[in-house]
Symmetry: C2
């Protein structure tokens, strides 16, 4: 069994690649919920939805998030009414949030709702939230601590960041599905998808039992770099690294993850950094890390699994 840790769009791409090359039952994808928030009375889980829509083949590849074939009549009407329209919710996507909220109000956990929604979307592999407790990513800017979505969507990542905090994480446990994977006898390895390390992966690793179980296990942990040739493939990763004073490179990402990693996959273009990364005690291979289509996703997933196996065999 493979456990993948994933956040938003980049993570969902590799997660989809893994889903397509691993047999059903052989993959658990644990997804960041630090971005979750209540908005318009709804429980919105952006990263869970991104992974679910991608694995269902229903993701909107034109705009990069949300559902394919989406319409925006609700949002337009809400804006016309003077309601808060900064967080765009498509008409079809809205059904996911309304149904999730309805089920949670009725007493289901986020894990249970996620399983039900994934079943409906025909997602065969297990997609689980990192936790059923509420963990809220906060972003420290010059003026104040911002809720993540306000920083990410409303302010388009413009304020300079100096720190992240995962409010509630000290009280949070891993979700039953993530915990079961971390304790599984057949766990073959852990893949950290090329998501934003600070706001997509760190919240998962900040859950106390997640980090301790990963550290205690003998299974290899491999990450795929979200930075290629000194640029983030997508999103604010590079901008955050610069603001946080972290070397804005694949090397900076490897050093940020540190001893939790056994292996790191960088792009061919970053091969010059492999020795520096290896001095951190992390094995390195190069691959084509940018995924432009599903066959890129499958190819990178295959490379990642081979690398995991090779690391395990070497031990």
């Amino acid at each position: 069994m493979i456990l993948a840790l994933a956040g938003g769009v980049g993570g969902a791409k590799l997660a989809n690649g893994l889903a397509r090359v691993v047999d059903t039952g052989g993959l658990v994808i644990a997804v960041n919920t630090g971005d979750d928030f209540r908005h318009l009375g709804l429980h919105i889980s952006p990263d869970l939805d991104t992974v679910m829509y991608n694995l269902a083949g229903q993701n909107n590849s034109e705009i990069g998030w949300g559902l394919a074939g989406e319409t925006w009549n609700f949002m337009t009407a809400l804006g016309w009414l003077g309601g808060p329209d900064w967080f765009k919710l498509g008409d079809k996507d809205l059904a996911t949030h309304i149904e999730r909220t309805r089920r949670m109000v009725a007493g289901e956990t986020l894990s249970e709702v996620t399983a039900a929604l994934c079943a409906r979307f025909g997602v065969a592999h297990k997609v689980v939230p990192m936790s059923d407790e509420i963990v809220t990513t906060l972003v420290r800017t010059k003026d104040r601590w911002l809720p993540f979505q306000e920083y990410f969507v409303a302010l388009r990542c413009e304020p300079e960041v100096s720190e992240f905090r995962f409010s509630g994480v000290d009280l949070a446990k891993s979700s039953p599905g993530l915990r079961a994977a971390l304790e599984s006898n057949v766990l073959r390895g852990i893949v950290i998808c090329p998501s934003n390390p600070f706001v997509s992966i760190d919240p998962i690793l900040a859950i106390a039992d997640v980090r301790s179980l990963i550290t205690a296990r003998e299974v290899p942990v491999v990450a795929v770099s979200p930075i290629v040739g000194g640029r983030a493939i997508k999103g604010p990763t590079l901008k955050m690294m610069i603001e946080l004073g972290i070397d804005p490179s694949a090397f900076g990402v490897a050093r940020h993850y540190g001893s939790i990693l056994d292996g790191f996959i960088i792009d061919h273009i970053d091969m010059s950094m492999s020795q520096d990364i290896e001095t951190l005690g992390i094995q390195v291979i190069a691959a084509d890390v940018v995924m432009k289509n599903v066959s890129d996703q499958e190819r990178l997933a295959g490379v990642t699994l081979e690398f995991l196996d090779k690391i395990r065999e070497r031990r």
Copy 2:
């Protein structure tokens, strides 16, 4: 000033006629909220919306309720997810419910939200809920008491009814706008629109201070019959009358309203009943009561206002 009491579609038509012939500031429309319910986490006020959409000229005249030019992508997606899709919410209409709920959660009263929404929809006349308290219409059937929307929409009025109850009405006061109209020095008359007497008008009249203020006032009260030629213009009014053992005719409606009425407007086709109705102490005139278009609405509104004035002058 004219005060109109209205419920759903039929009531909204005459309310719209009144709105078009009365000067701005000269009309208050108090709307039934007994049909209001929480659904999918939203506060839904079907009758308030019907009146607002009609007065805004944005009502969907094809399907008879909701907004013009509506789309149903949310609802289709919710149904596909296995969510409750028996109460149809259009994509644009949904924005009204989400914005209403958002404002109420933030502490606004239903009256305040209604005023804000009406302002946005360009409705110049005052549209107010009957109460800011929760009043819930319940329908007694053979098996059990049903919430109104379950009876009306999910079960399409099929169960036989024997009684209605307006849960919470004993604790409810009239809304500030309705109360102000009922106490106004310039109140010229009260119009009971051709809505369902049992589930649209009775909830309003069941509010203790509404009935006592109407009874205490000298102003004439005129109703327009929702029954024409032994048939309900729309909806289950006639079916309910039969099940309740009430004479299924305009006369039956007049007798149901009883002493609260000074005048009753029936259709020409029902002229044979005028003497019977007059024996109840209610003045009667005949008019074309069926409103097929906006000019019918204006015409009937004009007839209603003239009748009110004539009754007042005769006193």
